[in-house]
C-alpha cells in the first residue's frame, strides 16, 4: 500500500486502484469527488462529520436541508450529521454527498485504530485493504517512521 498526503495524490495515477481517504472531514470534502471520479473504489474513513452546503453560507439550516435533499438513505444521513460537540463551520461543496453515494464509494465511520501494510484496521474488527491511502502529511510521516 502506498501512502500519500492530501496534495500528493494528484501526482498518482489512481486509475483502477482501490483508494482510502483518511482525512479530516473538511479536507475530505474537497478531494473525495475528484478521487471517486478516477479510482476503481474509494473508502472514506470519517472521524467526525462536518456541515456541508452547496453555497457559501454560514447557516447550519441550509446545510441540514442540503443533507436532507441529497442523501437518500436515513442511516447515512445520520452518519453525516455533526453531533452536539461538532464544529459549527460549514464547508462548501456541491458534489461531496453525490460522490459519497456513487457505487464505487463507501463511507466508513468506525474508528481507525491502525494502519497496516495492506490497509486500514477499524474498530469493528475488519481490515480494509486499499492500494493507496490518502492521509494528512503529519500522519504519513509518522507512519513512515
Amino acid at each position: 500500500m502506498r501512502i500519500v498526503d492530501g496534495e500528493g495524490w494528484r501526482d498518482v495515477d489512481l486509475d483502477g486502484l482501490r483508494v482510502g481517504v483518511w482525512m479530516p472531514a473538511a479536507e475530505a470534502v474537497r478531494i473525495v469527488p475528484a478521487v471517486t471520479a478516477r479510482a476503481r473504489s474509494v473508502k472514506v474513513f470519517q472521524d467526525a462529520p462536518v456541515w456541508v452546503a452547496p453555497v457559501p453560507v454560514r447557516i447550519p439550516t441550509v446545510a441540514r436541508l442540503h443533507l436532507r435533499l441529497t442523501v437518500r438513505d436515513t442511516w447515512t444521513r445520520r452518519l453525516l450529521t455533526p453531533g452536539r460537540f461538532g464544529g459549527r463551520d460549514v464547508i462548501v461543496s456541491r458534489s461531496y454527498y453525490r460522490a459519497l453515494q456513487r457505487s464505487n464509494c463507501k463511507l466508513i465511520t468506525w474508528p481507525v485504530y491502525a494502519v497496516v501494510t495492506q490497509g486500514v484496521r477499524t474498530a469493528e474488527g475488519i481490515e480494509h485493504r486499499v492500494d493507496v491511502l490518502i492521509t494528512p502529511d503529519p500522519v504519513r510521516k509518522a507512519l513512515a517512521a
Binding site: 485504530y113 474488527g125 475488519i126 481490515e127 485493504r129
Partner: protein
C-alpha cells in the same frame, strides 16, 4: 475523586483487536458435533443479534454523551459491539451454521420490533434510561449467556475469541456504571426532569410492548437450552451490587425501575410472567413483520469476513 475517562479511552485504543488476528481455520471446529450444532445455532443467532442491537444502542448513547471523551468511548463501544457480532457470525460460519451465502440469520419478530423502536426513538430517548438499560443487558450477556456458551463449546478458537470479547465487556461494564455515577452526581432536578421524560405514556408503552416479550422469549429459550436460572440470578445480582456500590447511581429512578424489573424477569413464579410477559410474547408473535417496514441500513452491516477489499 472523579473517574479518569481519558485514561480509559486510551486503554480502549490500546486493546483493539481484529478478526484478522484470529486463525479461523485452526483445528477445533470438529468439536462442534451435529447435535451441539443444532442446539447452539439458535443461541448463536440470538447472540449475534443482541450484539448488533447493542451496537445500535451505543450509537444512540454517543449522540447524548455528557462529555466529548465519553462520546468517543461510546463510538468505540458501538464499533466493538459490531466487532463482537462480526466475530460471532464468523464462528457460526466456522461451525457450518450459516447457509451458502453466509447471510445473517433472520431475527425473530421481537428483535425486529426492538430494531424499529431503536430506529424511531433511540436517538430521542433520554440518556439515563438507555445508560441504565445497557449495563443490565451487558451483565446478563457477560454473566449468563457467554458463560453458558463457553461451558457448552470446547472449540479453542471460540475460547480465544471470547477472551477478547470478555476483556472488551469488562471495560464496557466499568464505563457503563461510571457514566451512571456521573449522571447521578449531576443536579437532582436535572435527573428528575430527564426521568420524567421517560414516563411519557407513548414511550412507556412502547418500551413495555417491545422489550418485555423480547427479554422473556430469550430468557425462556436459553433456560430451555440448559442455562441454569442461578446464572441469570447472579447476573442481576451483579447489576444491583455494582450499582449499589456507587455513591450516586441510586439517585437515578431508571436504575431502580430496571433493577426491579430484572428481578421479576428471573423469578419465573412472579405474577409478572403470568399477567404481563407471557401474554405479550403471545400477542407479539402475531405481529406481521411487514407492518414494521424496512429497517435502517445499519442492520445489513454485519460480516464474517475479516478482510474487506
Amino acid at each position: 475523586m472523579t473517574y479518569d475517562f481519558e485514561a480509559m479511552l486510551q486503554t480502549i485504543k490500546d486493546k483493539q483487536w481484529s478478526l484478522a488476528d484470529i486463525d479461523w481455520d485452526a483445528p477445533g471446529a470438529e468439536t462442534m458435533t451435529d447435535e451441539l450444532r443444532a442446539k447452539m445455532r439458535p443461541f448463536m443467532a440470538d447472540l449475534v443479534w443482541i450484539e448488533h442491537v447493542g451496537a445500535r444502542g451505543f450509537a444512540s448513547l454517543a449522540t447524548k454523551a455528557p462529555t466529548p471523551v465519553v462520546k468517543e468511548i461510546y463510538e468505540y463501544f458501538h464499533a466493538e459491539e459490531q466487532k463482537h457480532a462480526n466475530a460471532e457470525l464468523a464462528l457460526m460460519k466456522r461451525w457450518g451454521m450459516l447457509d451458502e451465502d453466509g447471510q445473517m440469520p433472520e431475527p425473530n419478530i421481537n428483535v425486529k420490533m426492538a430494531i424499529k423502536v431503536l430506529d424511531t426513538y433511540g436517538d430521542n430517548l433520554p440518556l439515563t434510561g438507555l445508560a441504565a438499560l445497557i449495563p443490565l443487558l451487558e451483565c446478563a450477556l457477560d454473566g449468563a449467556l457467554v458463560k453458558f456458551l463457553l461451558d457448552e463449546v470446547s472449540d479453542p478458537v471460540c475460547h480465544e475469541v471470547f477472551r477478547h470479547i470478555n476483556s472488551d465487556e469488562a471495560r464496557h461494564i466499568t464505563v457503563d456504571f461510571q457514566v451512571l455515577e456521573l449522571i447521578g452526581a449531576g443536579p437532582l432536578h436535572k435527573t428528575l426532569i430527564e426521568s420524567a421524560s421517560l414516563l411519557h405514556p407513548q414511550v412507556v408503552l412502547g418500551l413495555i410492548v417491545v422489550f418485555v416479550p423480547l427479554i422473556n422469549k430469550m430468557r425462556d429459550n436459553i433456560v430451555a437450552m440448559g442455562l441454569s436460572e442461578q446464572k441469570l440470578y447472579n447476573a442481576v445480582k451483579r447489576y444491583s451490587s455494582i450499582g449499589g456500590r456507587g455513591e450516586f447511581t441510586r439517585r437515578l429512578p431508571a436504575y431502580h425501575v430496571l433493577r426491579t424489573q430484572a428481578s421479576m424477569v428471573i423469578n419465573r413464579s412472579h405474577p409478572y410472567h403470568r399477567f404481563l410477559a407471557d401474554p405479550l410474547v403471545k400477542v407479539t408473535s402475531f405481529v406481521p413483520a411487514r407492518l414494521l417496514g424496512r429497517p435502517q441500513a445499519w442492520v445489513d452491516e454485519v460480516t464474517h469476513e475479516p478482510i474487506a477489499s
